[in-house]
């Protein structure tokens, strides 16, 4: 894609309002869903739903409010690298805990 295709739209306000509405609706949705004990059906279901909604909200903010959708390729690569680095931090540490088959000694128990 040529750099010129990344130009900001002449009037981005409709995008901003759209993201704003999405954020509000998804905030209401995540509060509503949290009321239910989905863990009754499957252990991690509550957290999966909550994080999926949070990731969608964050992506909308990054792409539109932070203009990454219209930014240069270099900026886009930097953003993805940052998220990927966070993934390494979380995934490698957790895989270390899991593969040792145990958790830190529980306090006070």
């Amino acid at each position: 894609m040529a750099d010129h295709s990344h130009e900001h739209p002449a009037n981005p306000i409709k995008y901003y309002i759209g993201v704003f509405l999405l954020l509000m609706v998804f905030t209401a949705l995540t509060v509503f869903v949290a009321k239910f004990d989905l863990e009754h059906y499957w252990g991690p279901l509550n957290i999966i739903v909550a994080l999926t909604i949070a990731v969608i909200k964050a992506t909308a903010v990054v792409l539109i409010f932070m203009h990454v959708r219209w930014s240069s390729r270099l900026t886009q690569v930097i953003v993805v690298a940052g998220v990927f680095w966070l993934f390494i931090l979380l995934a490698f540490t957790m895989s270390d805990y899991w593969s040792r088959g145990g958790w830190p000694t529980k306090l006070g128990q």
Binding site: D37, K57, M66, S72, L86, L89, G108
Partner: protein, 233 residues
Amino acid sequence: MADHATHVEGLAHHFVSMEQQKEAGMIGMWIFLLTEIMFFGGLFLAYTIYRTTYPEGFLYGSHLLNVPLGGTNTVVLIVSSLTMAMAVYYSQLGERKKLVFFLFVTLVLGLVFLVIKYFEYKSKIDDHLFPALSLYNPASTGAHGVPLELQQPVRVFLWIYFLMTGLHAVHMIVGAGILITLIVMAQRGKFTRVYNSPVEISGLYWHFVDIVWIFLFPLLYLTGFHYSPGGGH
């Protein structure tokens, strides 16, 4: 440099063009935000490890938080992100009055967030739920009835709650300072259609702090929303 005989307002001499200067500024800010991701990332990692270790303690601790206040703050931050985006938009059009207006609204919303946060912290401290002080105070167990076997895990949760929201609140305070600086600069006419990078770069910071809260709200407040202590969960 004969090519650059016409000096552009706000263009530093080591950049070829306004576009190049702006791109460099944006990338510099994103690199900074990457370090911020890792800064908060350590705390999110601690949250993941301890939540996996003490699921019951996290449900109980999360249940102690005030969802209406946390939810209100979520909405306040979302609106402030919209007004910040509008401020960036009007700075690029060179409309000083609208720029100052939206920066000001963003600042007010940021302060509203901090005031609500203050009252939340105060009620937690009053209820003996500040983990460094007196979770073990008999008065606190009487008021909240944290079961003895959950006191340590709940304490871990409360530490993580205060650390994560505290670090976030520090970022909000810094953001408020940035907004005040921008408002003063805008009123002095520093920003034009051509030179407005400080507004956009500050916008990136503000939206980043909003994104951190987008994750903190469900992880801290909503995790125990369906939980009923002693309900045999």
